[in-house]
């Protein structure tokens, strides 16, 4: 079956431009996460969607970052007025859900490498 897909795989943009990154989760997965991975660093949580609940936006680093999710399907991460420090790999993950003691294994996409010049 298809895994998590992300597009584009690479994005080069100029400082000050807006970018949109897309994530297609595994079908049927109710939870979706965005993480940021800077070079040589661990994964930094950005935002989390779970079903119809209000998203957990606590990891978004500034108001230039926003994300939307259409139902339990595709999600878009938008970065406005990009800065050089936004350069990183943006990873999306989905999981079946986190009720009770169900597995909360997260399945990651290949990421979008964003370079801000």
């Amino acid at each position: 079956g298809a895994g998590v897909s992300q597009s584009p795989s690479n994005k080069v943009t100029e400082k000050g431009k807006d970018v949109e990154l897309r994530c297609d989760p595994i079908s049927g997965h109710t939870a979706l996460y965005w993480y940021r991975q800077r070079l040589g660093q661990g994964l930094e949580f950005l935002i989390y969607f779970q079903g119809n609940s209000a998203p957990d936006k606590s990891g978004l680093p500034s108001d230039r970052f926003s994300a939307e999710r259409t139902g339990e399907s595709v999600s878009t991460l938008t970065i406005q007025r990009t800065q050089q420090e936004d350069s990183a790999v943006y990873l999306c993950a989905s999981s079946p859900g986190t009720s009770g003691r169900a597995s909360n294994e997260q399945f990651f996409g290949p990421g979008t490498r964003l370079t801000v010049l």
Binding site: Q41, L43, N104, P110
Partner: protein
Amino acid sequence: QQQVKQSPQSLIVQKGGISIINCAYENTAFDYFPWYQQFPGKGPALLIAIRPDVSEKKEGRFTISFNKSAKQFSLHIMDSQPGDSATYFCAASIKWGSTLGRLYFGRGTQLTVWP
């Protein structure tokens, strides 16, 4: 503030040797501790995971040891192979509250296994 601390940052092991990566945490609400493996250009993939009601979990050459009182857990890779060369991340997740399911990651360990 790093909720999960991982060491070492890099590790070089000879083929056939044992690779050991350590992690420590402070938040006693964590109840799920996975290890992820990441190859260059790929997203992380779940390798093995443990819950705090057991002290050890083994899957093939990979073993997690968990010490609840010390709030530490470690990954042991037995008979390390060149194909194990990758970056390994420990993580933890919390069971209650709005951050349910979110993973807190360590900074990663770059493992190189020499043939």
